[in-house]
Chain length 419, copies 2
Amino acid sequence: MGKALIIGCGGVAGVVIHKCCQNSDVFEEIMIASRTKSKCDAIKEQLEGRTPTKIRTAKVDADNVDELCALIDEYKPDIVMNIALPYQDLTIMDACLKCGVNYMDTANYEPEDTDDPAWRAIYEKRCREAGFTAYFDYSWQWAYKEKFEKAGLTALLGSGFDPGVTQAYCAYAQKHLFDQIDTIDILDCNGGDHGYPFATNFNPEINLREVSAPGSYWEDGHWVEIPAMSIKREYDFDQVGRKDMYLLHHEEIESLAKNIPNVKRIRFFMTFGQSYLTHMKCLENVGMLSTTPIEFEGHQIVPIQFLKALLPDPATLGPRTKGKTNIGCIFTGKKDGKEKTAYIYNVCDHEACYREVGSQAISYTTGVPAMIGAAMLMTGKWSKPGVYTVEEFDPDPYMEALNKWGLPWQVNGNPVLVD
Amino acid sequence: MGKALIIGCGGVAGVVIHKCCQNSDVFEEIMIASRTKSKCDAIKEQLEGRTPTKIRTAKVDADNVDELCALIDEYKPDIVMNIALPYQDLTIMDACLKCGVNYMDTANYEPEDTDDPAWRAIYEKRCREAGFTAYFDYSWQWAYKEKFEKAGLTALLGSGFDPGVTQAYCAYAQKHLFDQIDTIDILDCNGGDHGYPFATNFNPEINLREVSAPGSYWEDGHWVEIPAMSIKREYDFDQVGRKDMYLLHHEEIESLAKNIPNVKRIRFFMTFGQSYLTHMKCLENVGMLSTTPIEFEGHQIVPIQFLKALLPDPATLGPRTKGKTNIGCIFTGKKDGKEKTAYIYNVCDHEACYREVGSQAISYTTGVPAMIGAAMLMTGKWSKPGVYTVEEFDPDPYMEALNKWGLPWQVNGNPVLVD
């Protein structure tokens, strides 16, 4: 069918690459490009001969539009898949516009250096304008809408699990299950256990931000902001069991509030274990989570970077992690004039993921929907010029692909609601 | 009366110097010597003109016997007061022997580089021989006994609060309150609050050692070793209130077991708050308490040293600390054929100490007995050639001095016992 340029070579990219190679009818050729070509070569070597997909690799600095364009012009992909950090979203979108190629990513843009006062001022202003305090919002990327429309190109934003699959669940519920969705609760539960007293699944800076940023939810047409971790619920998750979960701000709430007509309330909850939170709090108390460098033995050391060096490498967690994730959406609303509830969710097993692609469920649940989102664009099942989030497309082929490619979902028509 | 050479210029030394200057009849002249002469000069400047005591300062490397001897020969003190780290005890004792001058310290010797496998092997062997696992024991310094006897010099070991005052309490109880002491429980309670979520009163390495080393107590003629922090009791301390306390190994148990005839059991308990322990545990879990350097950005960084740089400087805790310490000994035994109990203890107020000498109670309760111990030797109230701990001398003048110099004690004849 076509060619995809995959930018990034971390844990999620590893899953994306495995999945593209499983789906060779669509991904006839892929190019893996990152700052460190040797990492790309290592994956290529691992997969070559086990897939009909032709694999090439390249070195690219995703911060550099000219370098990206040179690579795109040479390789001529049908889509650029941005599986790198969200800091590079805008430069990669710029390169796609310049070279006339479709774009997709898994998480919305945020400025890299939020400790730089100049950047922070800009992004805090944007957040204030959006009506909530978060370190990321869609405004940066929605600003590209007209440019993509004029260029006749599609940019698909946030096709991971959450954001991504959760929005497909919403679009599916809107299309098939409800006439009117009143409330959406997105529940993200990781019941995995890596056996370490403390470790983070990805960059500890991002974990820290999750637990220290104010929470917010959408209600009656506006944002309600709450102190960090101040709304806690216990929920009994299918195949995982009882877990504490906390209300967080999460990016897909912003787009769902625009795209689900007359929705009254949207909340996002994520599970955190008490031990994890205690470690985060203690590390914060002693200053280990600070991003401000301190002078130590003549060197400038950033405490959270040093912590990162001490903690187990997230890449080593995969083979150790047992248990399951359970992520989904609980809906309330009306159908044929009657009150109705529904819960769409996926349960994913860490060890099964690791056996299949060498990554545990956290990377797997993000990487599979990234491949599927790209496939939607490459096959023309999703096609309209502009910048869109997942719920703005027909959910049916995406939902079908989830079942086919390893993230089967189920619908519980009578779920326990979150109070 | 005479001249004292004070080696060290940290928090405890600051108290010692203040107290010597209050006791100018005995300490007519003092010399303050440390690696950093400017720190000595700063204290001198602060006190000069406010005391009849003549103050001099000098730079000295306490690891260097020749340098110490040059200073002693020039100044000709009546006593050398070792208020530096316990790592220098042996070199200073060597210098005292060489120059013919009395010696005293506040904590028994331990080798500095316990991470060095060669050193560790030596000191673990010594500990095994002593019958318990601790990072310090008296054997190093007791080995000097004969040399000091032959030289006609006195070395007074461990004249701080615990060790030190607690042993004077034992000697006092033995002399005045009991015919036979059966059990001694030493209770060290710090009810102070510095207002930080986490900070250490001195080197975090020493704090760590306290909570991670196996505990041990003396019973029926031998050591009983227990896992770290595995014996916990709650006790209601006079003027402080209820606190959790844990059984630790502590150095004075070793000498008391030899010097209190037929004692059946000696235990040491120290209070730790739950929040303090949780922070220590979390920091340990992530590797921040490790003394093994890791490679970080091209530098070798020792995690616990980096942590130390992050934590509030212990010197800044003084002005912030409120509350009291309560340290003492509970005795059971017999007097005139009858069962008897007694509790001798001191309560010390952090803020009152700070007002008086610019240090809170942790330094105050160590520094005052150091001055008193030195005064005992300088006045000849305590005088016998050899190496001795506090309980081996007549307690009466020492106990009287405690009341006079800021650490008044009281006796409760009917205390609640520790089960």
